[in-house]
Subunit: 345 residues, 2 copies
């Protein structure tokens, strides 16, 4: 069965959920165009999530995807927080940020019973997870209204783990991909494979359909992914310049600059490895720092710097998420982009 049949959509194109840079507008546009639009909920309050879901439901009858993180929230570690804030002190001084007035809290919540309850009011046809899967109870709840389940694998082992738990479609997230690595069975970055090697091996290891993600930017990339045996593709970066995305001004500028050709997997912004454009903070501290508070706690310490820098037009402290191929980023409507990616499919 093709993923178009499985998900009742026209095109084997999934718009990657991208928390912080898009909401319902992008999801609606892609779903209406025949692809699968996605609403990222990791950074939404329950009320905001309900509003966004209402908006989508009021604007399209097409299937769409609702995405959640499913990490285990860490116990804050005061010592580690203090050490990390000390590392950032020179920047706090430079920007006049009071380190004693830093926000606390996680910023990103995992999928939960209350989220499932809100979600059930809308019964979306597709629910996807990042960082593995939620508890069996929560997963069964989602399956209860007939939703298809998607999750990302960054290794063959993760793909087999997801298949064993009944996931309907596996997203093979190659190392080229922008944003957070979905890795959940390991935290060893050397296990992370390029899209070419990963898709090829996951397709051979599992029986469920595999969607390729990472480094795909255009129609040729879609064909190549299909040639490797993928049943579809998931693209995020390519949609970042679409008017329907909420990508910030500094992020848009960075994507259109030469800087966009150099990305790195970094844990500075959230505590988990994620790919973004190399900016000042990554250059200064190195992309991976063992001192960062655990995901998602690290975001609190850097957030005020980001706000201050962005107010001056600088992305020096912003997570400028992007994959290793920004060649597909265009300032065209998400519908047009979706159709261009699928010409002749």
């Amino acid at each position: 069965m093709t993923i178009q049949q499985l998900l009742d959509m026209e095109l084997p194109i999934i718009q990657a959920p991208m928390a912080g840079v898009q909401g319902s507008a992008l999801a609606v546009a892609v779903s209406r165009a025949g692809g699968l639009g996605s609403l990222p909920c990791a950074m939404l309050s329950l009320d905001a999530m309900r509003d966004e879901l209402n908006t989508i439901k009021s604007q399209t009858n097409k299937p769409f995807n609702v995405n959640f993180f499913c990490h285990t929230p860490p116990t804050p570690n005061a010592e580690r927080e203090a050490s990390w804030r000390t590392t950032l002190t020179p920047y706090y001084q430079e920007y006049g940020v009071d380190p004693d007035a830093l926000p606390t809290g996680a910023g990103r919540s995992p999928f939960s019973l209350v989220a499932a309850e809100v979600l059930e009011e809308f019964k979306p046809a597709v629910v996807s997870f990042h960082f593995g899967l939620p508890s069996t109870e929560l997963l069964e709840r989602v399956r209860g209204w007939g939703a298809k389940i998607l999750s990302s694998a960054t290794t063959v082992e993760e793909a087999r783990w997801l298949e064993a738990r009944g996931v309907d479609i596996i997203i093979a997230q190659g190392l080229e991909a922008g944003g957070h690595r979905g890795m959940f069975l390991t935290d060893d970055l050397t296990t992370q494979c390029g899209t070419f090697a990963l898709v090829s091996q996951i397709v051979q290891a599992v029986d469920v359909p595999v969607v390729a993600a990472g480094g795909i930017a255009d129609r040729a990339g879609v064909s190549a992914a299909m040639a490797l045996g993928a049943a579809g593709v998931q693209l995020g970066t390519a949609y970042l310049l679409c008017p329907e995305a909420t990508t910030s001004k500094v992020h848009r500028a960075a994507l259109q600059s030469k800087a966009a050709h150099h990305t790195a997997v970094t844990n500075l912004f959230s505590g988990r490895p994620a790919r973004g454009i190399v900016n000042r903070i990554i250059k200064d501290l190195g992309p991976i720092n063992s001192e960062t508070p655990e995901f998602p706690l690290a975001s609190a310490a850097i957030a005020p710097l980001r706000v201050q820098a962005e107010s001056k037009g600088s992305g020096d402290f912003s997570p400028l998420w992007a994959g290793q191929n920004v060649g597909g980023c265009k300032e065209i409507s998400a519908a047009q982009l979706t159709r261009e990616l699928a010409v002749g499919l």
Copy 2:
């Protein structure tokens, strides 16, 4: 013009030169089968190189490729050597290696005037370089007998640099690739792109034909690379189990074990980043160590440990070069493998 026309061969398949694990036999088998066989010369003396070239010439009239490294030999740094040997001391003790009797010298020589002189006796149709290009004088000398020049690019910048210097075909070496990263304009590993992202971008950046390398293991991978716009493919890992390769016993065993699914880019074995199967020394010291002597000097300190461990059937200290996809490794003849990769092309 296709690379088959340009190089006067039947199939757009290049066997990657792999110093230390193959010689003329593999090159002859692949060239005879219609692909482009390669003879790696980085670890050969001039006499050995002449012998190998004689062997190839006596066994086939088909075009073949002769490959050289073109690094700048470093100045040995006694302090760094000493520090590195101190790091390795526990292993020397474990294996009864006398640290005062370690071999010295580089182990790998760059392309040189004397090498060019030997090469000119044979006038090979194709000469390829790793780590950039040799001096203009040396390059002109090689061009003098009509050889086509190939070199590897690991970034778009390197591809443009090579094109500007008249390289006939650029090998886009994605991060999945086994063995030494060909990087030469940067030593920052975060610049290294997965094959999917790299091929796609280099194809758009240059006008010369681009050959895809890294993570390609089978016919589907070849199709995918062509769909991305590559004019051909270069595979190394897939040939490592062929009887014509000189892959060691421990290396063959590792490639056929579960361990082969976890590789890392490491500088422990030579001083330059290269991808190999994660073994004890990589686990113990981490894949990238800032203390290693400069390439290629690092190999001397580890060589006796390798010999000792291999004599006991262990690959704990061996460079078990492999790419991120060993799915194509088969114990079949190189000719059969080459033909399987090209079915229907």
